[in-house]
Symmetry: C2
Subunit: 790 residues, 2 copies
């Protein structure tokens, strides 16, 4: 421990004031958990003052309050620009208490004013029907991290710090959360932070010793291991440990002074002399009792310093006068009468401890990122589109074309520094190779001679952790910037639960009037199920679409552009959208191209449409509709059309391509859903539909469940059949290939004659021929090359 940290940095008056502020926050926290009336205990505590259902988490709360008041001192004294990310988000009472103390809460929610009635409302609303969540959530000013599902605080903190050179993000990591995988790898984020143009993250590992009922790992290893671990992670750890408030305040103040000076020295050096070597950023290990300042003993069992204080230390307060006394004594131990004036407002001497205006962590605009968000400068996506004399005239790698657009988005916004791309080491593999013309992978760790496109100021964030990619990007978006996450389709399931939580956050923050819109979270899912023939079964899973569909409809969009030009149009649209989660699925392999500039834009604007050039039902009703969604299914569907023209030329076939999957839903279920009338105009109200789909067939059935004629749909898609084979064999295994699709169309013909039977036989023969060829040659047969539409 350094010299400074062991000195007394606080005067006695300062210490008293800080401790008093802490008492106020603790008082308000206990009040929120227990009381619904009599907030200042002006009357003896009665049963009716206490909530019927006692819900909340006390254990972590005093520690969060402790950190808060100390950060306030730091911000005020040094005029810091700081936000506070709290991993132990169950400690909602702490954050709500502090935002109320510094006035922000009442500014956002005027009925919860800074007076006794406001305090009563503050208490009553907490974990109460129609009130607020017991966790830190979107409703809480200053928050960018939901405290429900643990693991993401540190990734969010780093995401917030990237490209925010003046910002310090203090991030409390609970010792429970520290056991999660996402958090355990997030410590390595320091290898991606550049002190020249990024802000700083100050992690505080808060060791309370216990989770819900059991011990925590990091609280139960010897100090030398603990310090070694964080040195190994590349930090300079500072220990603050104890339970006596006085000495703890001194220690915390001293350590905080020192770590901020260390942070500023690192930044000054890097910004003056340029980046030289990865700094050892400071971090703090705060070891304090769980349920600190709460009752020592409840019903004969230890409470403070034990897992028994994790949630509500004792219940049955309305029914037990003994427990009421216990609660009253506990509340009185904070001496509220010294902290709040007659009106119930924090006394001015203490209020003066909090920073002012936007320096308050609860009012910092970075934590309401939409306030700071600047629109991206976007190139004209039409400029990247392929020239296409006719549908099927050439093949191209769609994501390669998209990569050129992304490159120029990076270039145009390089100065603003508000756009980054994220990927688990797949940027190149996913064919966004063009981006390396203008930037690099980011790494502030050692760069070796054999590395290519790796630099300390790269804007391509690659780490083999989908959790980190997602967490960083969320933090980046929530603080008002823009980004894209490109991922192998199968492995995006790794962040299913993070997606859930983010969607929930968005839903709630849309209901909070003061939260400003932020950029959408954009996914490119590529290396998708149909082209993972070489990696095999483990890499084949289109189920993220199902997962996304189950979430709140007005937040989620799914796009399946069939070719490069439509992918460009969709990408532009997603980059301009706000407050959504956009999922784009597109292949990276050379594939046939269908739509020219105008057609692509028109098609994407509609979201779906009849492809007249591929249909032969002009001016009449078709006999059958062939639908398709997804690039590979579109190729197979169109190849089936070619086969049918040859084998069943009398059949009137209409081809419909769907790029915006949600158009299939009724408008009551999704804002993009087309009307039933339009749906019938496109798909007919009574003709069979053979639909070739990128994902699991059940998803299409689900989307069209309430449409007319839905029972007449025959959906082909992924049936969980896969292995290491060829691309064409993959579609065959799942009966999504041109032969099976054509056969399915023939099966819809009522009263088939012998020509149909003959056509079916031809299809069977062709399929067999293909499969034999594949087995014999280890590759697919040379493909159809000339698409003849007229």
């Amino acid at each position: 421990m350094s010299k400074k940290a062991s000195e007394s940095v606080l005067s006695e008056a300062q210490l008293d004031a800080i401790n008093a502020y802490w008492r106020a926050a603790n008082y308000l926290s206990v009040g929120q958990i227990y009381l619904q009336d009599n907030p200042l205990l002006r009357a003896p505590l009665q049963a009716e003052h206490v909530k019927k259902r006692l819900l909340g988490h006390w254990g972590t709360t005093p520690g969060l309050n402790f950190v808060y008041v100390h950060l306030n001192r730091l911000i005020r004294e040094r005029d810091l620009n700081m936000i506070y990310v709290t991993g132990p988000g169950h400690g909602g009472p702490a954050l709500v208490a502090n935002t109320w103390l510094e006035g922000t809460y009442s500014e956002r929610y005027p009925d919860v004013a800074e007076d006794e009635d406001g305090m009563r409302r503050l208490f009553r609303q907490f974990s109460y029907p129609g009130g607020i969540s017991s966790h830190v959530a979107a409703e809480v000013p200053g928050s960018i991290n939901e405290g429900g599902e643990l693991g993401y605080s540190l990734s969010h903190a780093f995401g917030a710090a990237f490209d925010n050179p003046d910002l310090i993000v203090t991030c409390v990591v609970g010792d429970g959360e520290a056991e999660t995988g996402a958090l355990a790898t997030a410590w390595h984020s320091n290898k991606f932070l550049n002190p020249v143009h990024d802000g700083a993250v100050l992690p505080i590992l808060h060791l309370n010793g216990f989770k819900i009922a059991g011990p925590t790992v990091l609280a139960r290893i010897p100090e030398d291991e603990l310090l070694a671990l964080f040195r190994g992670y590349g930090y300079e750890p500072y220990l603050v440990e104890g339970s006596e408030p006085g000495p703890m305040h001194q220690r915390m103040a001293g350590v905080l002074d020192e770590v901020v000076e260390r942070i500023q020295a690192i930044q000054k050096d890097a910004r003056t002399n340029g980046y030289s070597t990865r700094p050892h950023w400071p971090m703090i290990i705060l070891r304090s009792p769980k349920g600190w300042t709460g009752p020592k003993v409840v019903a004969g069992a230890p409470s403070e310093g034990s897992f028994h204080s994790h949630q509500v230390p004792f219940g049955n307060v309305a029914g037990s006068s003994e427990n009421r006394t216990l609660l009253q004594d506990w509340l009185k131990s904070y001496r509220a009468e010294e902290l709040f004036d007659q009106q119930g407002k924090l006394i001015p001497e203490l209020a003066a401890l909090a920073p002012r205006g936007e320096r308050r962590m609860s009012d910092n605009p970075h934590a309401n990122g939409g306030m700071l968000m600047r629109d991206l400068r976007l190139p004209d996506f039409r400029d990247y589109m392929l020239d296409l004399p006719q549908p099927g005239a050439l093949r191209a790698e769609a994501t390669d074309v998209q990569g050129r657009l992304i490159r120029d988005v990076l270039k145009l916004n390089a100065k603003t520094g508000n756009f980054r791309i994220f990927s688990p080491d797949e940027t190149l593999s996913n064919r966004w190779r063009a981006v390396f013309e203008v930037t690099d992978r980011c790494s502030t760790a050692e760069i070796a001679e054999a590395d290519e496109h790796v630099a300390v100021d790269g804007r391509v964030m690659e780490v083999l952790s989908e959790h980190q990619c997602q967490g960083w990007l969320e933090g980046y978006l929530l603080t008002g910037r823009h980004g894209f996450f490109s991922c192998y389709e199968a492995f995006i399931h790794i962040i299913d639960s993070m997606f859930n939580q983010y969607a929930k956050w968005l839903k709630k923050s849309n209901e909070v009037p003061w939260r400003r819109p932020i950029a959408s979270l954009n996914y490119l899912l590529t290396s998708h199920v149909w082209r993972q023939d070489h990696n095999g079964f483990s890499h084949q899973d289109p189920g993220f679409l199902d997962h996304v569909t189950s979430k709140t409809a007005d937040l989620t969009r799914i796009y399946l552009p069939p070719d490069a030009n439509t992918l460009l149009s969709v990408t532009d649209h997603c980059l301009r959208s706000r407050n959504l989660v956009n999922v784009i699925v597109a292949g990276k392999q050379p594939e046939w191209q269908w739509l020219d500039r105008d057609a692509a834009i028109k098609h994407c604007t509609a979201g779906l449409g009849i492809w007249g050039w591929a249909s032969n039902d002009r001016d009449r009703e078709p006999d059958v509709v062939i639908g398709c969604a997804g690039d590979v299914p579109t190729v197979e569907a169109l190849a089936a059309v070619m086969l049918l023209r040859e084998l069943a030329p009398q059949l009137r076939v209409r081809v419909v391509n769907v790029v915006d999957l949600m158009t299939l839903q009724p408008p009551s279920a999704h804002p993009h859903g087309i009307s039933d009338k339009d749906f019938d105009l496109i798909f007919t109200h009574d003709k069979p539909v053979v639909f070739a789909f990128h994902g699991y067939p059940a998803l299409i059935h689900r989307l069209i469940y309430r449409r007319n004629n839905h029972a007449n749909w025959h959906v082909h898609g992924y049936k969980e059949q896969g292995t290491t084979t060829t691309p064409f064999d993959m579609v065959v295994m799942n009966e999504l290939d041109r032969f099976h699709l054509s056969a399915a169309v023939l099966d819809t013909i009522p009263n088939p004659d012998s020509s149909v039977a003959y056509a079916r036989q031809v299809l069977r023969d062709k399929l067999l021929e293909h499969r034999h060829y594949i087995r014999a040659h280890g590759e697919d047969m040379p493909e159809i090359r000339d698409w003849q539409w007229h």
Copy 2:
């Protein structure tokens, strides 16, 4: 570095032999990636000898081969019982090569014999249509870890080591995989391993320096940080670093001798003197070039030691004679003529290096766990059932009752030591409190005075990482043991992707004839969506059921027992089942009980059924069917029945409860699906069905999509509406409550008269009364107490 490790432990002859064996494995690896014929290069390499599509991962392969041959020496010399878990599972060629060299591959797949023709088949099948995967997968003898989705090797390794005192699990962790969250926290598994009765895990962190195209984090930090990190994780790290084969063999041999002696010393001490303190288990950091022994330079760019060697170092071999020469020279560098005899079989001097029989890592029965699995001793689940004079006679906490059964399973199998339970610190919260009567939470870290039920030999595996719980359990099951994973319902999504991969593994291993059946993976999902009113929106998500349903039907089961007795019956069934994933959803709160012993068993055996006692359609067709699945929906459905008896006594209502969700699917879609005839007998073929469901309504629509009358189903379930409120308000928000259900039933009445309008008004009034009460009192109204069935 210790003295021993720096000495030359191998004689020159030993070193030559080990190096020759390694050359053989490398030769076979390159052959698999490139060749389809001419396996021993008896003829000059021609285009037709080379595969058309070159697919595979070379980069990690030579390192895996290097470790393999050294482990062979160790096993042979010390008669070790060892299995080999390879995190860099893309290195499939290495594992396949080694299993072929030691004969196991040909024993399992006789057509791939130990001769030239077998070698040709070995080469050709790799990453070839109809052949084998390019990753380590279920088809590979000796494997318990799929190499597709990275992150789980170390958790699998520890899961395998628990309760296997004689087993050493060597686990190679790639530096790519090491960046994942799951792996980053898995290092802490050593705080849960007890040397007295568990085996050992020997982790080898393999630093190759690169992922697909970018650098890896752990390869780019200074050595002092690297060592500090692993000391911080609690290990004693040994470094083996270099690129010259000779010295590397000596170093690796010396270090392996030392670490095995260290492991054995730790075990001997603990087993002689009892457990004293958590040992610092050894681990190895192996730093070797990516693509080691491959071509140094390809087309002017570095290959060995660079990310360019990650997959196939160079392509276009069939088409380029230059590349053919490069490949031929590379293959010839291994001097196959010295390694294989005229028949193509490994020469006896080298074959002698491999262990014999089941000591071969590829033949070790622990890696084919079904060989060792012993059935659990199970108590009679009927003994735990609640006495129930009539439906609704009492309330009980279902998972508490289940916990007593689990307690006795733990007790009865304590000696065998083949059953553990896994949870992210929720065993107590989920009401399995009874288990702590017979065992404890497991921790070999420091145990504090305030801890309760924590012990070094506890069988309750709690860590706040769903990834670890899942990974440990998978490893435990795959090595022939049994277990249960209890989890908050919302957060099981954290392991969505692990579930996917495990289901894929099971599907493939069911197709492998020599893989013996293993115990099923059992989930208890509790603290479920309907009783997360206190934790709020972030804790409310029933979507895992949708996720599971999208996977291969014959492997997955979903049970929604409505009460304690049915939960017991289902639990017993799951513990006896094999090769499945069983998902049980059951609440932990006091809830009404419906079925007595006999009725519960009968109901669970059928999977669904008409509850005659709740229905009033005896001897006639009903007017409407009320269906329900899940405990809370069942209460609401039955309460709706009560309301309807009062408000619409003339209405004939049939009540159907579904406990085995998959019975709803047609038998063609799921083995548990009931016949269409039975379905119609139960649900009628034309009457409206109002269905109260635990999860998202879309799932029910999906399951019954092909049933008669499906358009006449009105499903109520979770609509993504939630907040912090009361339990009853939660069902109201989602229109799953008794009032909405009753109203939905009334809505099905054709030509409703004024009495129906009146009934609807009564329902509206009652609902309003409830909501007002909740807002005013902060809790639900006192509930219906007397269920009158006659």
